[in-house]
């Protein structure tokens, strides 16, 4: 899941030269560093919902929850577990 999300973020939010220059890992701040702005994170949310078959409610899909790939994975996993329960 981690690689898939990082790949999507690079493709969706970074220009090619930026993607080459930048090291992006699961703990890189996304929103607070300005890589992804809160206005544009809707496409990431839709990608996650479609890819993993979950609904991420707006009140939980906050800039804080989307600030690192680690926190994004935690949110997706929480909803996957709910779905499986």
């Amino acid at each position: 899941m981690k690689e898939m999300i990082i790949e999507y973020i690079k493709k969706e939010y970074l220009d090619e030269d930026e993607a080459d220059d930048m090291t992006l890992d699961e703990n890189t701040p996304l929103i607070s560093s300005g890589i992804v702005d809160s206005f544009s994170m809707v496409s990431l949310k839709r990608f996650l919902e479609k890819k993993y078959g979950v609904m991420l409610p707006d009140e939980e899909a906050t800039p804080q929850a989307f600030d690192t790939v680690t926190s994004i994975i935690a949110l997706v996993n929480k909803h996957l577990a709910k779905k499986g329960a």
């Binding site: 300005g34 206005f39 544009s40 809707v42 496409s43």
Partner: protein, 415 residues
């Protein structure tokens, strides 16, 4: 009255946080009319300082133009100060409709509706015409008021990388199941001064059965051969579905904005757009002055031509002096400094050299993209700009950045 101590403390802490981050905004008191030369009190209580203004949106120098002022005086005497009402009850004078018709003619659209500001136009238009079956696909660097308008609308929202037509095409393909696809862009992007590639946007919109929204606030009156805007520059007049623009920049500089475009869209705004329905009409002196501005601009391109000469001179001068600037053709010329503190220090030093500019940094622009945004006016003249360039060179030399490229400046000052 209850003003709980805990709430007060929380707000004080928030204000302290804004100060700590260095993003606390302070007003500077101008003791003269808006113009290329102004008299400024800053910090508050200081002696007045005469400075060259390089940060106003007064692109055509019409904010204090004698004919514009005379038109306002005449309307003030003949039609009064304010309307004390919203447009659709008893707030519409013939002046308002005349101005709407003049704007329609000037922008080359089907109809126009005035709003108290362009921020209000952007806040109201999407919600008035789009619904849950539609999608708004916006450039990622559109103005904050468009972001707010999009957030107020129930249509789906998506974004594309700044001016990236490949990415926009992907998004248009992805959203083919929607009733309306509305591509949303600024004409000139206010922080970078670059143009949206409107000819390509229109071509893609036509290919994928989408509509186009253009906020031309930083273009109306001076971009394009006769100053009609970015749609004139790219030869796509008549092919933009919605144009919003402001009367608060080149077109007189007071206040007011509009939605101009397809007749039905304008009519729906007149019925449903909340900032139009629930806010007072544009005051008569402003409506009359804006009519005068459009008459001036329709009679001659002299002012936009002079602005173009000034902008070209200024860009060339900064490059020759060894500054890093953003490429472009508009009168918005960002001097790139990358480091936020450096941008603030240089802006401060320039002020004491008699040049009024402001440093911009994250979160107003992307992190590591701090800059001083300079803006030209038809009110500037070449000797004035030559003197301003000397001041820029002096301060640039003090900080040792002349001739350094992006990497060099970052190596010296960090990000």
């Amino acid at each position: 009255m209850a003003y709980p101590a805990a709430v007060r403390e929380a707000w004080l802490a928030e204000l302290a946080g804004i100060r700590e981050k260095g993003i606390y905004k302070e007003e500077r008191f101008i003791h003269s009319p808006q113009a290329a030369h102004i008299s400024v009190e800053f910090p508050s209580g200081s002696a007045l300082r005469e400075v060259v203004n390089l940060c106003a949106n007064n692109y055509l120098g019409l904010s204090s133009h004698p004919e514009v002022i005379a038109a306002a005086h005449k309307a003030l005497d003949e039609r009064g100060y304010g309307m004390s009402r919203v447009r659709f009850i008893c707030g519409t004078q013939d002046l308002h409709r005349q101005l709407e018709q003049k704007l329609t003619e000037f922008l080359g659209t089907e109809d126009t509706i005035l709003f108290p500001s362009c921020l209000d136009a952007n806040a109201g238009v999407f919600e008035a015409v789009l619904g849950p079956d539609d999608v708004m696909i916006s450039d990622r660097l559109v103005h904050a008021s468009i972001v707010d308008g999009i957030r107020l609308c129930k249509a789906m929202h998506d974004t594309y990388k700044h001016c990236d037509m490949g990415h926009l095409e992907e998004k248009l393909r992805e959203h083919q199941d929607k009733r309306v696809r509305l591509v949303i862009t600024d004409g000139v992007f206010s922080m970078d001064g670059d143009f949206a590639p409107l000819d390509e946007i229109v071509a893609l919109a036509e290919k994928y059965n989408a509509m186009v929204f253009l906020d031309d606030s930083h273009a109306s009156g001076f971009i394009g051969r006769t100053g009609r805007g970015v749609h004139e520059h790219f030869g796509v007049m008549g092919r933009i579905d919605i144009i919003t623009t402001t009367l608060g920049k080149a077109l007189g500089g007071a206040s007011g904005g509009c939605v101009s475009g397809r007749k039905e869209i304008v009519e729906l705004c007149r019925q449903k757009a909340r900032p139009y329905l629930f806010s007072n009409a544009v005051p008569p002196p402003i409506a009359a002055s804006a009519i005068k501005v459009l008459e001036i601009l329709s009679a001659t391109t002299e002012r936009r031509d002079k602005l173009e000469v000034n902008a070209t001179f200024w860009r060339r001068g900064l490059i020759d002096a060894g500054f890093v600037i953003k490429d472009g053709e508009s009168p918005i010329v960002p001097v790139m400094l990358f480091n936020a503190k450096l941008a603030q220090d240089i802006a401060r030093d320039l002020y004491y050299e008699g040049i009024y500019v402001v440093g911009f940094f994250f979160p107003v622009v992307a992190a590591g993209q701090a800059r001083i945004r300079t803006q030209l006016s038809a009110d500037h003249d070449i000797p004035m700009l030559e003197r301003a360039l000397e001041s820029f060179k002096k301060v640039g030399a003090k900080y040792g950045i002349l001739g350094l490229d992006k990497k060099g400046i970052i190596a010296k000052y960090g990000l």
